[in-house]
Amino acid sequence: MVDEVDELIRMLKDEALSSGVRLGILIALYYIDGYVTFADLQRDLDIPKSSLHQHLSMLQENGLVEFKRGITPLGVRTVVKITNKGKGIVSRYLELVRALR
């Protein structure tokens, strides 16, 4: 139990996951397991474009998400997708949360 708490706190101290918004975006992308457009994310979270861009750039720098222009049914849009590394981290995070419940 103590080990799990320590590991969870260590994980959340990581620069990429030290923000609730970034952690939330990463978990949501894990469940969606596909592309989400930047515009949809911004509308969902109701935060300025610059803030969202900053959060996603941070996640991308750490290799947790892919963040690029892509073709969608509505035309060319900026899309975001979780990477395998990101999936691994969220999967471990959820295991820890499950163990602590």
Binding site: L12, S18, G20, V36, D44, L45
Partner: protein, 213 residues
């Protein structure tokens, strides 16, 4: 754990809820729209087979024979099921998530409502026969009711997480499916009414996403 970590987890849960509530509703809307077009696709197939029957007889081809029609219908159903797979896998993963705290636990009510609709639909059958309908394929009618009920329960996966609320059009789509799907074996126009209701539910769901409701 420190209050900072608690705050971080709280914000992350709010973020997850905001994103997933819209994505789940969007998935549900696309699912309704997709299956709403199924009866239309099958009707188109029948029309094509009718139109080409003359050409077939001239060329001595049997492309639209009954077994072949059945295979084509099953192939279309498989394509639709494949396209629905992504929606359901997302809903299933979310419903089993450990981050959900406030699960909506009124499943017994759904069971009661669905059971009442199912029993009523079955009870309607002898009345239809009594009214002079010659249809007597009880063997097809009962499995159709059971299948439709199972579909309605599977659709409930979208609501298990409590991230989206069931609206009147969700109830309308699922109740109409349990009632109209088996009845459509007797009265074909039922498929088209079902199609309209599901397209309506799909459109309302997507409008909910757009309006942020």
């Amino acid at each position: 754990m420190s209050s900072d970590v608690h705050e971080l987890l709280r914000v992350s849960n709010v973020t997850v809820r905001r994103v997933l509530s819209r994505e789940l509703r969007k998935a549900m809307g696309l699912y309704y729209l997709l299956w709403g077009t199924y009866p239309i696709a099958i009707a188109a197939l029948y029309t094509i087979s009718y139109e080409f029957s003359v050409i077939e007889s001239v060329l001595s081809l049997r492309v639209f024979s009954l077994p072949m029609m059945f295979i084509i219908m099953m192939a279309i159903a498989m394509i639709y099921a494949f396209l629905s797979r992504r929606f359901f896998s997302m809903a299933y993963r979310v419903s089993r998530s450990p981050i959900i705290v406030n699960r909506r636990g009124r499943y017994w009510l759904r069971w009661v409502i669905t059971s009442i609709i199912m029993v009523t639909t079955i009870a309607v059958y002898p009345i239809l026969v009594g009214l002079g309908n010659v249809y007597n394929a009880y063997i097809e009618y009962i499995p159709a009711v059971v299948y439709a009920t199972l579909v309605a329960f599977t659709n409930a996966t979208f609501f298990k997480s409590g991230f989206i609320r069931a609206r009147y059009y969700d109830y309308l789509a699922n109740a109409s499916f349990i009632i109209l799907f088996p009845l459509s074996l007797i009265y074909y126009f039922g498929y088209y009414i079902l199609s309209l209701i599901w397209i309506y539910a799909g459109a309302r769901s997507l409008l909910e996403v757009i309006s942020g409701g």
